[in-house]
Symmetry: C2
Subunit: 269 residues, 2 copies
DNA sequence: CGAATAGTGTCTGTCAGACATTATACA
DNA sequence: TGTATAATGTCTGACAGACACTATTCG
């Protein structure tokens, strides 16, 4: 895990260090954060935890949670363990994002290759997160100056999050096992910064075949209670045994102009 | 670039080596390959170059072109230079794919983290590629057994290629600057393994606003000549100055059920 | 002229957004 | 009863696939 001390010219030509950094998204931070954001606009917003650096370079600057790749851990494992160290939580979603390996990345003379991950965590239980040393939560749209090129990494992560929210079940990861369509819609809108029509959102979600009513209902105001749903894998997807990245990372998308096997269905009879 | 020789236990705990491997796709390989695929079905198909290993582990097995990350090269640069070494060509498209860093990846005891790329190259000029030592082209759907986990990497790359072909300008990269709609459609279908309706494909492509007629036409058979087009960035995209991965890697996709700023357009007058 | 592809027009089914309407809870 | 949201239904416009039809070139 340690390597012998090197002088400057040795560091410059030494093999690069591999590190893992993770952009961790959550909706609505735990209570009482010393950040100056709107705490009561009603719409929830994206927040993420940062770690204050205690060493040069960029000492005292904020940085993404992360750390070096240990020789006996996979990249995913490293992301999970550093995530846990920074938040005390396990992610409900974790995906590799991009690997940054430019030669000009670091202010130091030690070459670092950073494998970036992004993660979603649920803050359903309002346990205010055991306050962890040197960790603070910030709204994703007003971050402090970040160390290294971590601001770029956050930008890429936010783009990925928004893109995936459009077609994947990403929004579900912010919620508990059971949720109402309104809750799901609010998450969806918070991530994308939009305001969907409740009726159309309902129709689309139910029509997607990925939601299943649990039978439970939830009362939350002076109005009719809402049915609860859970997320289910669409029928047939269990045939494929997908190891995270093995299958397409991409959406079904605007389907190409063909039926998969045959065109021209009508017989020219 | 070199590191001192280590014994086995030292290798096990040494910092991981960073390597770059690239899946290079082309349509229709150069002439006369000793591979047993259908060479005359009329539909072009995807091929990719592999390199025969000359060292253990996996000596004599086929592997993706690639090599170690040099201390003075970025990941992209390394991908490009190893790609050039294997094909003698420059890619028309190059994108980082995924980083593989499991602890069980290699049969050797030296931990390797591989940053995988995928690339597209055009073989418009039928120059049969200066035959390069230990390099051969294979049809993407009938590859030999590959070293390491390179078969997984190819699978991921093919999924990404197919997914991107659905919405991005990927198909264009296989062609020259100027092309007819039929050529574009054939590429599109070869990548996706489909047969599109020419009329609908034309309408969709022209409607996308990303094609611009060059004025030229091309005669290629006993029929009306075809107009030529070039690919253009859609209007307004030049405002954004996008450095490859900074912006969304994802499709516009099935747009969320909202107009970006306001819902409910009709006035209840 | 016949064959073959380039290119156009049209019909139809699907689906998303807009929005009216009914249902049900609480104060 | 008033209000707020849940849930359903309907209309419309956009768009993709199917496919008939016209245009143009070569042999």
């Amino acid at each position: 895990m340690t390597r012998p001390a090197l002088n400057v010219s040795e560091r410059l030509t030494a093999p690069p260090v591999v590190a893992v950094s993770t952009v961790i998204f959550a909706l609505q931070p735990p209570v009482g954060q010393p950040t100056g954001a709107d705490a009561s606009t009603g719409t929830s917003s994206l927040w993420l935890p940062l770690v204050r650096r205690t060493r040069e370079p960029f000492r005292d600057a904020w940085a993404l949670p992360g750390g070096p790749l240990a020789w006996d851990q996979s990249l995913d494992e490293t992301a999970r363990s550093t995530l846990h160290a920074a938040t005390g939580l396990a992610p409900r979603y974790l995906e590799q994002l991009y690997t940054f390996g430019g030669t000009e990345r670091s202010a130091s003379d030690l070459r670092v290759v950073t494998v970036a991950y992004w993660a979603l965590i649920a803050l359903a239980n309002r346990t205010p997160l055991s306050p962890i040393e040197n960790v603070a939560w910030f709204p994703a749209d007003s971050l402090p100056l970040l160390a290294f090129d971590h601001a770029d990494i956050v930008t890429v992560a936010q783009n990925r999050l928004r893109a995936k929210a459009g077609y994947a079940d990403v929004a579900v990861r912010f919620l508990g096992e059971e949720f109402t369509l309104s809750e799901l819609r609010r998450v969806h809108d918070a991530v994308l910064g939009t305001r969907s029509d409740p009726a159309n959102f309902r129709r689309r979600m139910l029509g997607s075949g990925r939601l299943e009513p649990t039978g439970a209902t939830r009362r939350e105001g002076p109005h009719r209670p809402a049915r609860c749903y859970r997320f289910v894998e669409p029928a047939g997807s269990d045939l494929l045994e997908r190891p995270a990245h093995e299958l397409s990372d991409e959406p079904p998308g605007p389907s190409p102009d063909h039926s998969p096997t045959t065109d021209r269905k009508r017989d020219p009879a």
